[in-house]
C-alpha cells in the first residue's frame, strides 16, 4: 500500500472519530454532562443503518432474520435519529444525578446496549459479524467509472464534508441562545434555573443531539468497513473520545476535531513503522499507553487542551 492510500484510510477514521468528538463536545464541552455511553450511540447508529440497508444472509449460517434493502441515506438518517432517541432515554434515567453517578450509570447503560447487540442474533447477527454492508455509490466510484476517483478518495471527501457541515452547525448552535443556556448550565445550574429555564429539558436536548451525531458517525463507519461486530463498540472507544475532547480542548469544536485526529494518528502510527523494529509485537499496546500518558500530561500542563478556553475550566468545579 502506498503512503497516500494509508493516509486516506487514517483520514477517514479520523473523520469518523471527529464526528464522535463533536457529539461528546456538545455533552461535556458545552453542557458539562458526563457521558460515558458514547460507544453505545456509535453502535446504535452503525447497527441501525446496517440492518436497514443489508438484507439478511441466506443459508446455514443465517442467524439474522431482520434486514431491509432501503437506500443508504435512509439508513444513515434512521441511525442518527435512533441514536439520538437512545441518548434521550438514557439521559431521562440519569441526567438529574450528580456527576460521578452519571458517569457510572451511562457507562453501565452502554454496556447493557452492547450486551443486547451481542445476544440478539435475530436482529444483529449477535456475536458474529454483520457482513456485506453496502457502500454508498460503490458502483459509480472507481478510477474508470462515472466518478473517476478511487473509493477511499471519495469516502474521505464525503466524511470530511460531513465533518465540516457539523462543525459549522455546532459552532453556530453553541453561540445561539440555546447554546448560551447550555453554557450557563455548565457553569452553574442555579442561574438558568433562576431565569426560569427548564434545565432538564435542555440537558435532554443536549444529550440527544450529541448522541445523534455519534449515531451518524456509526452509520458512516458501518458503510465504510463492510462488516461490523459488537467488539468494535467497547467502552474503550468512549474513553478514546474523551481523551480526544480533553486533548483538543473541551468547549472548542475545532479542538474536538484536532483532538480526534491526534488520537487516531497516535493509534494508527504503527502502520507507518516497518515491522522489524524492536518491540514490534508490543507496538499496539505501547501506542495506547502513549495515549493514556498524553491525556494525563495534557491535563496537568495544559488543562484547557490545545484549543480550549481556559475560562471554561471553571465548569463542574462547583461542588
Amino acid at each position: 500500500m502506498a503512503l497516500v492510500d494509508l493516509l486516506l484510510v487514517v483520514g477517514i477514521i479520523a473523520g469518523v472519530y471527529s464526528l464522535l468528538a463533536i457529539g461528546m463536545n456538545m455533552h461535556w464541552g458545552d453542557t458539562g454532562l458526563l457521558n460515558f455511553a458514547h460507544a453505545a450511540f456509535f453502535a446504535v447508529g452503525a447497527y441501525t443503518s446496517a440492518i436497514l440497508t443489508t438484507p439478511p444472509a441466506t443459508g446455514d449460517l443465517a442467524t439474522r432474520v431482520v434486514g431491509f434493502d432501503f437506500p443508504i441515506l435512509v439508513g444513515l438518517l434512521a441511525g442518527t435519529a435512533l441514536a439520538g432517541l437512545v441518548g434521550v432515554l438514557i439521559a431521562i434515567t440519569s441526567v438529574r444525578l450528580e456527576g460521578d453517578y452519571l458517569a457510572m450509570v451511562t457507562l453501565s447503560s452502554a454496556e447493557l446496549i452492547r450486551l443486547m447487540i451481542h445476544n440478539e442474533a435475530w436482529l444483529t447477527t449477535g456475536a458474529q459479524t454483520l457482513k456485506n454492508i453496502p457502500r454508498p455509490l460503490s458502483g459509480m466510484v472507481s478510477p474508470g467509472g462515472t466518478i473517476p476517483v478511487s473509493y477511499d478518495v471519495f469516502y474521505f471527501v464525503l466524511v470530511w464534508a460531513i465533518v465540516g457541515v457539523c462543525y459549522l452547525l455546532f459552532t453556530r448552535l453553541s453561540h445561539s441562545p440555546f447554546g448560551r443556556v447550555l453554557h450557563a448550565i455548565r457553569e452553574n445550574d442555579d442561574v438558568p434555573l433562576a431565569l426560569g429555564k427548564n434545565i432538564t429539558t435542555f440537558k435532554l436536548k443536549s444529550f440527544g443531539i450529541g448522541a445523534a451525531i455519534a449515531g451518524l458517525a456509526g452509520g458512516l463507519w458501518a458503510h465504510y468497513v463492510y462488516a461490523i461486530s459488537s467488539i468494535m463498540f467497547l467502552p474503550s472507544i468512549t474513553f478514546l473520545i474523551w481523551a480526544a475532547v480533553i486533548i483538543g480542548g473541551a468547549g472548542s469544536y475545532a479542538g474536538a476535531i484536532v483532538g480526534a485526529s491526534v488520537i487516531v494518528f497516535l493509534r494508527q502510527i504503527t502502520r507507518f513503522i516497518p515491522g522489524d523494529v524492536p518491540f514490534g509485537d508490543q507496538l499496539a499496546y505501547i501506542r495506547l499507553m502513549v495515549v493514556g500518558a498524553v491525556l494525563i500530561l495534557v491535563l496537568y500542563y495544559r488543562p484547557e487542551g490545545l484549543l480550549g478556553d481556559a475560562e471554561r475550566l471553571q465548569a463542574g468545579t462547583s461542588e
Partner: protein
C-alpha cells in the same frame, strides 16, 4: 418460585468478590472523592502479578497471592505519588479522566508483558464435592472464607483503630475533620495501601473463579459500580451489602432470564435503585 440453592451459592461466591472489590473502591472514594476508573485495572494487575509469581517463577500459590496483594498495595501508593498527587486540588471530574488515562496505561502494560490472551492459575484438578445437593469447589469456599475475614478485618479497622476512625470522619465531613487536626495526606497514604491491597485480592479471586484476561478488572467494574451505588457511594457497609445483593440477584436470575443477560440484572437494579433512592440503600439524604 423456589430458589435453587446451587444458584444462591454461586451468587454468594460472586457476591463475595463484588462486595470485597466494591468496599475497596468506596473506601478510596470516601477519602479522595473521585471515581477511580483504573481500579479494575489495579485488580487485573494484582491477579497477573500473582499468576506470574505462581506460574512463571514457580512459587506456591499462597505465596503468589500474598505477592500480588502486596504489589498492588505498594503499587497504588506509588501510582498516587506519580499521578494522582499532582491533581489533589483539581475537580473530581478531572481526577476521573486522569484515572482513565492511567487505566489505558496499566491495561496495555499488562497486554504488552503477558499477552492479550487468557491465563489460568495453576490449580490442582480435583472432583468438586457436593453438600446437600450443592456442588462447590475448594476455590469457592476459599473465596467465601477469605472475603468474610477481610470484611471483618476492615470493619474492625474502621471501628477500632485511630486511622480507621479518622477515615470515617474524613469521609463524612472532609472540612471538619481537617479542622479537627486529621492529617489528610496520611489518610490518603493509608487508604491507597488498604484499597490497593483489596483491589489486588479482588482481582486474584476473580482469576481463581474464572480466568485472567487483561480487561478482566474493567469488565468487573460494572457490577462493582452497581454495588457501590446501591450502597450509597462512599459507604463501606452499603458497598458490601450492595455487593452480595448484586451477586445473588445476578446468579439467581439465570433461572428466569437467559444467562447472557445476568450482568444486566445489576444494571437494572442500579437504575431502578437510583430513581427511587438517589442516596443508595443505606445512604442518608445528605448529598
Amino acid at each position: 418460585m423456589v430458589l435453587d440453592p446451587q444458584l444462591v451459592w454461586n451468587g454468594l461466591v460472586v457476591g463475595s468478590i463484588i462486595a470485597v472489590s466494591a468496599l475497596g473502591l468506596t473506601l478510596i472514594f470516601g477519602i479522595l472523592n473521585f471515581i477511580n476508573i483504573a481500579y479494575g485495572d489495579y485488580m487485573a494487575a494484582g491477579a497477573y502479578v500473582a499468576w506470574a509469581v505462581n506460574a512463571q517463577v514457580g512459587l506456591p500459590l499462597g505465596v503468589a497471592i500474598v505477592a500480588g496483594i502486596l504489589t498492588m498495595s505498594v503499587g497504588a501508593v506509588v501510582l498516587d505519588k506519580l499521578v494522582f498527587q499532582h491533581f489533589r486540588t483539581r475537580s473530581p471530574i478531572t481526577l476521573l479522566i486522569v484515572s482513565i488515562g492511567l487505566a489505558f496505561i496499566i491495561r496495555n502494560f499488562i497486554r504488552a508483558i503477558w499477552g492479550p490472551s487468557g491465563h489460568f492459575y495453576d490449580l490442582p484438578m480435583e472432583a468438586n464435592p457436593s453438600f446437600l445437593g450443592v456442588r462447590f469447589s475448594v476455590e469457592q469456599v476459599a473465596i467465601m472464607v477469605v472475603s468474610l475475614l477481610l470484611l471483618l478485618g476492615v470493619y474492625a479497622l474502621l471501628r477500632r483503630t485511630r486511622i480507621g476512625i479518622a477515615m470515617r470522619a474524613a469521609s463524612d465531613d472532609r472540612m471538619l475533620s481537617r479542622i479537627r487536626g486529621v492529617d489528610t495526606e496520611k489518610l490518603v497514604l493509608y487508604v491507597w495501601l488498604i484499597g490497593g491491597a483489596i483491589a489486588g485480592l479482588g482481582g486474584i479471586m476473580l482469576g481463581l473463579d474464572a480466568q485472567l484476561r487483561p480487561n478482566m478488572g474493567f469488565t468487573a467494574l460494572i457490577p462493582i459500580f452497581a454495588a457501590v451505588i446501591l450502597g450509597g457511594i462512599g459507604d463501606p457497609k452499603g458497598a458490601v451489602a450492595g455487593g452480595y445483593t448484586i451477586g445473588v440477584a445476578q446468579e439467581v436470575s439465570v433461572a428466569v432470564i437467559p444467562s447472557e443477560y445476568k450482568f444486566g440484572v445489576g444494571l437494572v437494579a442500579l437504575i431502578v435503585g437510583l430513581l427511587t433512592r438517589p442516596d443508595g440503600l443505606f445512604g442518608e439524604a445528605t448529598r
